[in-house]
Symmetry: C2
Subunit: 440 residues, 2 copies
């Protein structure tokens, strides 16, 4: 509290003037007095850098120093904090952050890919130069989940962190659930609305969720692991039939990221569509909203829900980090010294132990159910329910009927083997669809 730098202005150098960058400028201007009070000192935008200086941003930037090359922000002696809002795991964003560390400047970034892929290396570098590197906006925009795990839950040992971390996917799945419409159809509409990128793969194939999950897991459990070992499955193959049958069974399909700590000091990190019971809080998180739940030994259950993206919420998160730096209230990047993190192996999906939803399209003839049940028995898999929708005509093919199976918890390895066998049965018309069920 007796920080000698109180009242000395904190000078920012902002790289990137996209949605978030403009939001940060607006928020700092709009709430200048409040922010000065809460930061204990003035916060001043000193220099900026973006791709195109000429672009009309509906803002007077003439009194701010312009750097053509963002890397020069890191070298500018008047800049105290570099705000990296360029994005991307490699290239300029990475170079800028490294250069800022070398030049002993504090860093705030909203770059999830950078932190997920280079976090451990950057934590080590930042510690060696004793500079803070904060990244609240990198995960779930306006939801303060980084601060919550790093500070509010610091005393506890967490068992599980999970949630809905991608607004695009949640919007698509919510709309599919509400309308019964097709994935591709809604994806196109979502792109028109600006909720999905022209190349939507990072969102819909789960990589974005994996980046965020990886950061939460490093923070929450204190391990290092190989990012590529995270199990990642997107939502391209979710179709209206399965959403419909899931609802019939009392479930909603969501794309979730789950990090689970096992007692043998192993971690289970997975991103995939899942059937959530309609009684679970996450099942009711709709549209572009994000939500994260934590489960801790002492802290119990906690859920945070809010805007996972957008100018205002993300800018609020960036500015919260800036205020922490202004106050001198910073802690090591992963919440502990970087060398306290321990390496671990992630559990492969074949070792997951879950309940499963399985949907088959079969030829409508006697004996099919018996054949399927026999395979399940052979692999020692326990079934919870089997539904055959006789009156549900599929594919305009009159003799095709869907069979929906729900299993108890089983080892995924056995399940996948059984499904390979089932797929070979003559009455099975398509590759079986499998979706994990996420239950307490």
């Amino acid at each position: 509290m007796d920080n000698p730098s109180v009242n000395k202005p904190l000078n920012l150098g902002i790289a990137g003037l996209g949605t978030v960058g403009i939001g940060v400028l607006r928020l700092l201007q709009n709430n200048e007095k409040t922010i000065t009070n809460r930061a204990g000192r003035p916060i001043r935008i000193y220099a900026i850098s973006a791709k195109n200086r000429q672009k009309n941003r509906n803002m007077d930037l003439s009194n701010l120093k312009w750097h053509e090359n963002p890397l020069n922000l890191a070298k500018d002696p008047n800049v105290d904090v570099v705000i990296e809002l360029i994005g991307g795991a490699h290239g300029t964003a990475y170079e800028l952050v490294c250069s800022a560390i070398e030049n002993k400047k504090a860093i705030v970034t909203a770059n999830k890919a950078l932190i997920a892929l280079h976090g451990n290396e950057l934590a080590k570098k930042a510690a060696s130069q004793n500079v803070p590197l904060l990244f609240e906006a990198a995960v779930a925009g306006g939801i303060p989940i980084i601060k919550t795990i790093k500070e509010a839950l610091a005393a506890d040992r967490l068992i599980q962190i999970g949630g809905i971390l991608n607004g695009t996917c949640n919007y698509i799945l919510t709309t599919m659930t509400k309308t019964g419409r097709d994935f591709n159809d809604i994806l196109k509409e979502t792109q028109k609305l600006g909720y999905a990128e022209a190349n939507p793969s990072t969102d819909i194939d789960g990589l974005d969720t994996a980046h965020k999950l990886s950061i939460l897991a490093s923070l929450g459990f204190g391990y290092t692991f190989n990012f590529d070992d995270i199990y990642v499955e997107g939502i391209r193959n979710i179709n209206p039939y399965d959403i419909h049958y899931a609802q019939e069974l009392g479930y909603t399909i969501k794309l979730i990221g789950i990090a689970q700590h096992h007692q043998n000091n192993k971690l289970e990190l997975r991103v995939h569509p899942a059937l959530l019971p309609n009684t679970s809080p996450l099942s009711r998180v709709n549209g572009v909203i994000n939500a994260i739940t934590t489960q801790g030994e002492f802290s119990g259950y906690l859920m945070l829900e809010g805007a996972g993206a957008g100018e205002g919420p993300t800018a609020t998160a960036v500015c919260a980090d800036i205020i922490d730096i202004a106050r001198g209230n910073t802690i090591p990047m992963w919440g502990t010294d970087w060398n306290e993190l321990r390496p671990t192996n992630l559990i492969p999906n074949t070792d997951f132990n879950k309940a499963y939803y399985i949907r088959l399209f079969v030829e409508d003839k006697p004996g099919v159910v018996a054949d399927i049940a026999t395979v399940f028995k052979d692999y020692n898999l326990s079934l919870r329910s089997l539904l055959q929708h006789k009156n549900h005509i599929i594919h305009n093919a009159e003799n095709t009927v869907p069979i929906v199976l729900v299993t108890h918890k089983n080892k995924e390895n056995s399940l996948l083997k059984a499904l390979k066998e089932i797929h070979k049965l003559p009455a099975i018309l398509e590759k079986p669809i499998v979706i994990r069920i996420e239950e307490p």
Copy 2:
């Protein structure tokens, strides 16, 4: 980050060994290594004080210094942080905190009444001595709402803060909703389960919620106000009829605390039962769970949900404060310097502008509805719906029928006057029941 006190142990003096105190001891012992890592230095319980030294606490306390008088913790030269877990707005808790400030010791407290009633005075005292005073556990136990408002949302101007802040009331109302049973019946059961005190007034009459709401409002809006001006109404008069009719209309009845910022720099602070639309996130928060939503100009909507009480969650909050102190990461009590807070008047309930649920028991004879509608017209009140349950026999009186009215937004003053008139109508058999509707 270059805190000179890193690695020097932080010595705690804990006053009060009830549920929370024992939880803090357990958590600090259980997670010693993790906490040392995250705090950057060892945290040591040095001294304790409680009413009865002989009580069996299933814990070895023999190596801790015992102070018969808790006030001596504040004077003990080896104590760095006083942890006040005694409770109560006045008396020993107040004296201990004041003495700790005088002795330049950091303070952590879980005492909502103390902070709600003496917060401004303590903020001034703490600032003058430059000591941190943290109180995360004072509001909603394990939910980090203090840190979220004070730090994560520091850059934003909030419009509204509200939520379900009392687990006892929420448990009672949830059980009434699920079972259709009577308030007094369930209160007794709740007392047996240990969720309600022998004297339950602080909880069920809304005072506890008002304490928490007052703290959130000071933090979130930066005003000082007269605590007694908060509008407070408890849940004693909620009965199964109204819960039933509310459900029919698509609402759930909850006890809420709402703080709303008006553009004229006035604050509306109110605690009362309310009808929440079943589509709203708070309507689904059941049992002893607490939840708080914030609405900010930039940050938008945010909700935090979790355990509002209990040994583990509350201890996690207390220890988060201790870790912040260990790291030197503390800010002024209300998030800004105490003298930045501005006095304001709270809006009286007669100036509230809400939609209302009104339930009347009337004699079943022609013309009653017309008489009621005339009074509404006379007071210029706009009605949204009127339901008359002909087939719902009440009080074993065959000619008594309930009438349920829902209004549009109206000034409360006019509504109360109209209801006085309606009460005088000869066909009205009981005092009209009014419950506010909380809608976006």
